[in-house]
């Protein structure tokens, strides 16, 4: 038996790529279970994303677009593919890289180095915005104060605002993030597990925040994480890959574990969960929060103060539980009215009971 034949016998036998029927397959697509070769993989991967962009009318020609770039696999591949598609299909976009420095030593400083390399590799101008500058607190300082629970709550809330501020600095029209199909399926599950109906109704939208400061969209909404990683591997794209040191305690980890187990049994489950999420309809009798603006900073908020302001207030006053946790019972309306009272009565409330 010749060595070459032996090797190809192992790699799916004498089967050839499902699409071109010429080359040796290197990947089994979770989405379709097709066995495809490298070149066909690049083509379908890029073409599908192009179709998502065009089909959902994500961009308009001439727009300035910031790519939320962390140096991780999703944002690096996003920057690469978006610049490529922008060129190939003449989207006419002005692309930028926007990075947030949360101040997590040993994690963020390393990944920022990757984004700086991406800036050079892809020729996209980079803007970095830091929590320290925006809020006066780094994540390391925050964790020192609040301990190892609820870290992601603070970071996620602060990052969302930080991206908007960064986008405003760059004067961009739109923000894109690298959230992939696995992420969105996890989020749908997470919101179900928590009974967060408001978020459940929004989390599968491919574009959000159109009525806010900066709309943001997710071109990778239907793209599997496995394919993003394989694309980056085969194309030898430079990305940073370490888990945030504070994330092992995040609740999302459970949803992620579950999704990964599901994917193993039935890979289509990921897209099907997203479809279920898209087709949810909220009962008309369910009370939904109304959108207004934060009294303190003017950011969009469904409460008197936006979440970032509540959390910051807690930090600055040494009340780490402020803004964390859920109200007991169903008296949401009553809590709202109570919360609309003066700062004095906020102070007099017990830690942890302030959640609206």
């Amino acid at each position: 038996m010749e060595a070459g034949e032996a090797k190809s016998k192992k790699a799916g036998g004498s089967r050839l790529c499902c699409i071109c029927n010429q080359r040796r397959p290197v990947l089994k697509r979770p989405k379709t279970l097709q066995q495809i070769c490298r070149e066909c993989f690049y083509e379908v991967f890029e073409e599908e994303i192009h179709q998502v962009i065009v089909g959902n009318r994500l961009f308009k020609s001439g727009e300035r677009v910031a790519i939320g770039a962390s140096g991780g696999k999703d944002s690096t591949v996003l920057a690469y593919v978006l610049s490529e598609l922008n060129r190939r299909h003449n989207y006419g976009l002005d692309l930028f890289l926007l990075s947030i420095d949360e101040g997590i030593t040993g994690y963020r400083d390393d990944s920022l180095e990757t984004v700086k390399r991406n800036e050079v590799q892809y020729g996209l101008p980079l803007q970095i915005v830091s929590y320290k500058d925006l809020y006066g607190w780094t994540m390391d300082e925050i964790v020192k104060m609040i301990g190892l629970k609820n870290n992601c709550t603070f970071c996620g809330v602060f990052r969302r605002q930080a991206l908007d501020r960064g986008a405003a600095l760059l004067k961009v029209d739109k923000l894109v993030t690298g959230h992939n199909a696995d992420d969105i399926a996890e989020t749908v599950l997470l919101n179900i597990l928590r009974g967060d109906i408001a978020r459940l109704s929004r989390c599968t939208s491919i574009t959000t925040g159109e009525d806010g400061p900066i709309p943001r969209c997710k071109p990778f909404k239907y793209t599997y994480e496995k394919e993003i990683v394989m694309y980056a591997y085969f194309k030898k794209l430079d990305y940073f890959s370490t888990e945030c040191i504070y994330s092992p305690n995040a609740y999302r980890g459970f949803a992620r574990e579950f999704i990964k187990d599901l994917e193993r049994l039935r890979p289509r489950a990921i897209l099907d969960i997203i479809k279920s999420g898209e087709d949810f309809r909220i009962a008309t009798t369910t009370k939904m929060p109304e959108q207004g603006t934060c009294e303190r900073c003017g950011y969009i908020s469904s409460q008197k103060w936006c979440k970032a302001c509540v959390l910051l207030e807690g930090l600055n006053r040494g009340l780490p539980k402020m803004g964390i946790g859920r109200p007991r019972g169903s008296g949401n309306d009553q809590k709202d009215t109570k919360a609309r009272s003066t700062a004095k009565s906020i102070e007099s409330k017990q830690c942890g009971s302030l959640e609206f």
């Binding site: 192992k10 790699a11 397959p25 290197v26 992420d183 394989m230 890959s241 945030c244 992620r256």
Partner: protein
């Protein structure tokens, strides 16, 4: 060309750990290894299943649960044998041969 039929070990060109997995192997991304075959086993029988067990014992220095779950890799860890998705070659039943290159990539981190 079964050159190795008389040997009791398999010489792999390299095993690579990517996507953060290298942290479990003393931060070494690339390992050149010779794997001793289990007693009495023919080199023809050496599969990914055996290799995984070998890797867990010999290369993973900490937190093995990040790499494996039961007999197989933890969901979210991709496996490539000679740059091919192991799903194409039967996953755990993939036969491992002389000079093979194995790559493990973890996808379980922020993007």
């Amino acid at each position: 060309m079964c050159l190795f039929s008389c040997c009791s070990m398999i010489d792999l060109r390299r095993i690579m750990c990517r996507g953060g997995l290298e942290l479990l192997c003393d931060s070494e991304k690339i390992h050149k290894v010779n794997v001793d075959l289990p007693n009495g086993a023919e080199s023809d029988d050496f599969t990914m299943k055996h290799l995984l067990s070998w890797v867990r014992t010999n290369l993973i220095k900490e937190r093995p649960e990040m790499f494996m779950k039961g007999d197989t890799v933890r969901p979210g860890v991709l496996v490539l044998v000679n740059d091919c998705d192991w799903e194409l070659s039967g996953q755990l039943d993939t036969r491992i041969e002389e000079k093979d290159v194995i790559v493990f990539i973890s996808t379980l981190h922020g993007g």
